[in-house]
Amino acid sequence: MKTPARNVPLVTGATGFAGSHLLDRLLTTHPAVAAWSNASGRPVPSGDGRVEWLAADLLDQPGLERSLGVLQPSVIYHLAGLPHVGEAWKNGGRALEVNALGTHRLLEAVERASPASRVVVAGSALVYRQSDRPLREGDPLGPSDPYGISKLAQEMVAERAATPVVLTRPFNHAGPRQSEGFVTSSFAKQIAEIEAGVREPLLLVGNLDARRDITDVRDTARAYEALAAWGRPGHVYNICSGVAYRVGDVLERLLGLARVKVDVRQDAARLRPSDNPIVLGDPGRVKGETGWSAEIPIDTTLADLLAWWRTQVGAPQ
């Protein structure tokens, strides 16, 4: 395989949750990292001269080709996409456009302008058909919501692209900087607000009995790097801890870290239309082929997440 002259990796979706952590990781071993963000998305952090930021439009293929032609990234971590919060539910078309068509255009651009780049695409565990057993890569697919459909379309687009791509199915991940649209982060934010005295000591929750395979986002980011190093193009890999945590258990762990007493109440508005009772992955393939495994204990993840929200709501440290 041809090797690009400059060892500069590219992260798309670099202002996103996993993207920002991957960017941090890559900066510990690379003198420079290219980072793409959505012009209308979150603001780009400033101050680190080692990051080459660009506002990129995934639907603008000529623009992507021009940028990639200049950049010639060693690895492309494609993490950009419409996330699984609110928006995808309201607008399935937009999810398909960004996640599937955007990936298609990006991979076409890679093939034409930067064919030596290795590509890792961040998919989703929500492409699987619901199952109460640990999901393996060969298990039946059957997404149950518009977001999952868009991620399955993305995966199929990537699988059939001329450019060889390592495909991934990350399960839930959690940690600092996570949007409050995700349940773990929502709990942590509410606790931080209650601690800061800006919210009544009442925590609104959805379905506490659902069980989710949760990985620390920094472990997830490391998995992307491990898959860029070891993953076989054209193959798909779960990224998960292999442990399903009951949402109520996660809540109790967070309440144990709270500095104040908090009451808990269920809120009908927080129940999603099709909440799977359990989503659990089998990390056997990624462990066997890359040596990666989830390392950060859930209590560390939750403590760091809560600590981050405390800084966001301005509570004293």
Binding site: T28, E225, A226, A229, W230, E289, T290, G291, W292
Partner: protein, 338 residues
């Protein structure tokens, strides 16, 4: 003449330092004190052992009857002697406490009675800082050793400082990053992988191979220690780092490439317990004294590979005496094993 005592002078870094010192300083008389355990080998000193300005003494730094008089006769002590292999420390920590901590205590006790000693270099390690997720460790950072080896070294590091603070022993502490170069015992990652690769034996890579180490060529390390003997300030700590932050996966692939082998030899093995993810040193303090690493990592690694390829007399007996290697080698190569 300057009398220099090098403890652990038959080990990897120590023997490189003895060779460097004899070549560099015509006015130095060098005494090597070494217990000749497994990694301390006279073969490491084969070309300088009988040098007219070199004396070899076999003995344990923890034995005051041997180490004491040697320290009291020295102008300069460079204390390399230590148990150093993290995996061994995880299996059995006792030897590490005995050699690394108690051995240092014995030398320091002798040093404080000396009337002529003008420098005591305590060779510590960057591993005393523990894993650093980002940024680089400075000499003033908190010590957070995470395995019995680094904890022993942290104990010796601070004990040495206490003998400066309490008794004014002219101690300087160095904390160097991972060393590479000739004469490194083939249990450490570079010579282990390389000597395996030369024999087409799989190389066992820990975990995902994304751990990062800051590689320092042993020659650059020797120059730094030499500089600190002359220009360092007593009671101070100096980081010594090569500034080459390399992921283990890239290191492994580079070794295999240089050995003319493919990635097919790589085997993922479960990660070491408490494996530190990343070390990184800020070496500004040492650089202010005029030191910079001279070795380019790619070139230094290629030279190291060439050295092991050309000096099989040095490492073959070690590998052949290793039961695991023997059994693997014999299962692969049958009766071709000597």
């Amino acid at each position: 003449m300057v009398d220099v005592l090098v403890t652990g002078g038959a080990g990897f870094i120590g023997s490189n330092f003895v060779r460097y010192a004899l070549g560099r300083h015509p006015d130095w008389r060098v005494t090597t004190l070494d217990k000749l355990t497994y990694a301390g080998r006279l073969e490491n000193l084969h070309d300088v052992k009988d040098h007219p300005r070199h004396t070899f003494v076999r003995g344990d730094v923890a034995d005051a009857t041997i180490a004491g008089p040697l320290v009291r006769a020295a102008d300069v002590v460079v204390h390399f002697a230590a148990e150093t292999h993290v995996d061994r420390s995880i299996m059995s920590a006792g030897e590490f406490i005995k050699t690394d901590v108690f051995g240092t205590f014995v030398l320091l006790e002798a040093a404080r009675q000396s009337t002529k000693l003008r420098r005591f270099i305590q060779i510590s390690t960057d591993e005393v800082y523990g894993s650093v997720a980002e940024g680089s460790s400075r000499e003033t950072d908190e010590l957070k050793p995470r395995n019995p080896y680094s904890a022993s070294k942290a104990g010796a590091d601070r004990l040495a400082y206490s003998y400066f603070a309490t008794y004014e022993v002219p101690v300087i502490i160095t904390r160097a990053s991972n060393n590479y170069g000739p004469y490194q015992y083939p249990e450490k990652v570079i010579p282990l992988f390389l000597t395996n690769a030369l024999d087409e034996i799989p190389v066992p890579l820990y975990g995902d191979g994304l751990q990062v180490r800051d590689w320092l060529h042993v020659d650059d390390h020797c120059r730094a220690v030499d500089l600190l003997i002359e220009a360092g300030t007593s009671g101070e700590v100096y980081n010594i780092g090569g500034g080459n932050h390399v992921r283990n996966v890239d290191l492994t692939r580079q070794i295999l490439l240089l050995a003319g082998k493919t990635d097919a030899l790589i085997r993922h093995v479960p990660d070491r317990q408490g494996h530190d993810r990343r070390y990184s040193l800020d070496t500004a303090k040492l650089q202010r004294l005029g030191w910079t690493p001279a070795a380019c990592f790619d070139k230094g690694l290629a030279q190291t590979v060439a050295w092991y390829r050309d000096n099989q007399w040095w490492w073959r007996p070690i590998k052949d005496a290793d039961p695991a290697y023997r059994s693997y080698y014999s299962s692969q190569y049958g009766n071709r094993l000597p």
